[in-house]
């Protein structure tokens, strides 16, 4: 398999789209169903990535890949889950503004720690030494296989989230997000529900971060800016926060359209790529967010359709 038809840029673009769809699906559970406005996505993702990198590179494991990879990725996911538990506990009683500020603060802490803990993370110079847990030939072939593996992970997240809508658990999340006091009076521990949800969705964000670390094989603190959070948020809000497909469609229309179609196939001047395009991307995403919130606050797909779903599941 020579993969001549596929350029490296496209593999990287598709990887980014798949990963952001995964993050948007997790944000859909947090924000769309449970109304937890997590603006620190990049913090959890980045923590997963750096925890994985530090464990993989700095620790002298007595076994090699794939065990080294599996152990490190599991630990990184667990560490991010623990961070999610702590942040979830801190934000459990706050209103939406408080949650926003605190999660943003968490993402900033992750960025600062990654910058200052040079011995562990390499700081601003970045950190190399990561590699694929397999080797099937050329770099491109390895990257392509990794893209497929991550795509499978994202499809699994999609199928899970879709099933959550069809389960008592999903109903509990929607009730908790919709009217916490009423849910509590019906015997639901909304506090535990939110905490558990936040912890395990954060853990999965960390997992996606670790998988990204393997793809790029070089950890760079420039990845820890607000861009990623913005991309996930804009994608989900455009598609519709309350809908499973909202995450997919929204991200395809924003990150997919911009990073793959515009960047790869539009004849743009070369010198734009380093300076102008990233700025342009932020500007367009920001403008999209404003326009969607002004004219279609529920996104392209609109609100969730529980009436249709209930009819399908249980009949009239």
């Amino acid at each position: 398999m020579t993969l001549d038809w596929l350029d490296a840029f496209l593999i990287a673009g598709l990887f980014e789209v798949a990963m952001i769809i995964g993050l948007a699906l997790l944000l859909h559970l947090q924000l769309g169903l449970t109304r937890i406005a997590n603006f620190g996505i990049v913090g959890f993702w980045g923590l997963g990535m750096y925890a994985f990198g530090v464990l993989y590179v700095r620790v002298d494991w007595p076994f090699g890949d794939p065990w080294q990879f599996l152990v490190c990725v599991t630990l990184a996911t667990a560490i991010t889950g623990l961070a999610g538990l702590v942040i979830g506990w801190l934000i459990s009683d706050l209103d939406i503004d408080g949650v926003l500020v605190e999660t943003l603060g968490f993402a900033t802490i992750v960025l600062i720690l990654a910058t200052t803990e040079k011995d562990l993370t390499g700081g601003a110079l970045g950190m190399g030494g990561l590699r694929f847990p397999f080797n099937i030939g050329t770099v491109k072939q390895n990257e392509f296989l990794w893209l497929l593996i991550v795509a499978i992970v994202v499809v699994a997240i999609f199928l899970y989230v879709r099933q959550v809508h069809r389960s008592p658990y999903g109903r509990l999340l929607i009730a908790t997000g919709g009217n916490e006091a009423l849910a509590r009076s019906l015997g639901k521990s909304t506090y535990r529900t939110k905490l558990l949800l936040f912890a395990f969705t954060s853990a999965l964000m960390g997992l996606l971060g670790a998988l990204f670390g393997v793809m790029v094989r070089f950890l760079d603190i420039n990845n820890l800016g607000v861009d990623l959070t913005l991309a996930v948020m804009v994608g989900l809000v455009l598609g519709g926060t309350a809908r499973v497909w909202g995450a997919v469609i929204g991200v395809l229309l924003t990150v997919g359209l911009f990073d793959i179609i515009i960047q790869s196939y539009l004849p743009l001047p070369r010198e734009w790529y380093t300076q102008a395009i990233p700025v342009l991307r932020e500007a367009i995403f920001g403008a999209t967010l404003i326009l969607v919130l002004l004219f279609r606050p529920l996104g392209i797909l609109g609100d969730m359709r529980r009436d249709k779903l209930m009819e399908k599941l249980h009949g009239k």
Partner: protein, 264 residues
């Protein structure tokens, strides 16, 4: 029906004891109840002028607002006393203490089926790893849910509750599906047409006959006189009188403070 209730009064039922319960908002004492036992009779009423503190007292019993002072405890017919006022709110339903809401409360995004299913589903099914549990939960409870939907004349349970009346009824059905042993109804018939008020009263009587203690807070006094065997009269934050409906409705203080001349 009335006979059932009289017989059922012999059954021992759960009681709620309120001791020295004080609640003030911004320095103003809203509730100050020294000693109150609820649930000595199957169905008891709580009446009083607006602002007397009835709803606040009910919320204190449910621990949905914290007490400044005092305790509220549940005394089940058998077993040890449980101090409700030191328990988290969501535990009340586990102890069988359930309250319907005075103001309309609903889940905007949930359909009628959803609302009822939410109420009947046990916590063990509501876990992130049990995403395939929907059908078995539905099968287990469909009969019970259908019973109430048919009784109150709900058409399509896949729809959303739209009118205030529908939401009010849905709130009551959610409470009934929790199989309460101690049910507090805060103005259950406000905004309901007469035929539905009758139905609510019928359900409440049936429930009381099977051993549930019911407390009704109401401004529609016909409901109180028809339904209750004992009435508590509340004014200015305290329960100042209690007795059977006849004695309460003829009491001078009640007439002066609440009913007005000519009511009797």
């Amino acid at each position: 029906m009335a006979n059932d209730v009289t017989v059922a009064a012999e059954v021992s039922r759960p009681q709620i004891h309120v001791r020295g319960a004080v609640k003030s908002f911004a320095g103003r004492v809203v509730v100050d109840v020294d000693e109150l036992v609820l649930g000595e009779r199957p169905i008891e009423g709580l009446i009083g002028p607006t602002g007397a503190g009835k709803t606040t007292l009910m919320r204190m019993v449910m621990h949905s607002i914290p007490l400044d002072l005092g305790t509220v405890s549940l005394r089940p017919p058998s077993g040890v006393e449980i101090v409700l006022s030191s328990q988290p709110t969501h535990r009340m339903a586990h102890y069988g203490v359930v309250k319907s809401n005075q103001v309309i409360m609903d889940f905007d995004k949930l359909t009628i089926w959803d609302s009822l299913l939410l109420s009947v589903t046990e916590a063990s099914y509501e876990k992130p790893h049990r995403v395939f549990a929907e059908r078995s939960v539905f099968r287990e409870h469909v009969e019970q849910m259908r019973h109430y939907l048919d009784f109150f004349g709900f058409g399509d349970p896949t729809a959303f509750a739209l009118s205030a009346g529908e939401k009010k009824l849905l709130d009551i059905i959610r409470c009934l599906l929790l199989r309460p042993s101690f049910l507090l109804l805060d103005e259950p018939t406000a905004g309901l047409p007469d035929d539905l008020t009758e139905k609510v009263m019928l359900v409440v009587r049936e429930l009381a006959a099977t051993g549930t203690s019911v407390i009704v807070v109401e401004h529609d006094l016909n409901v109180i006189w028809n339904l209750c065997e004992m009435v508590h009269f509340m004014a200015e934050g305290s329960v100042i009188l209690r007795g059977d409906p006849e004695s309460i409705r003829e009491n001078r203080t009640v007439v002066e403070k609440y009913l007005g001349e000519g009511h009797v």
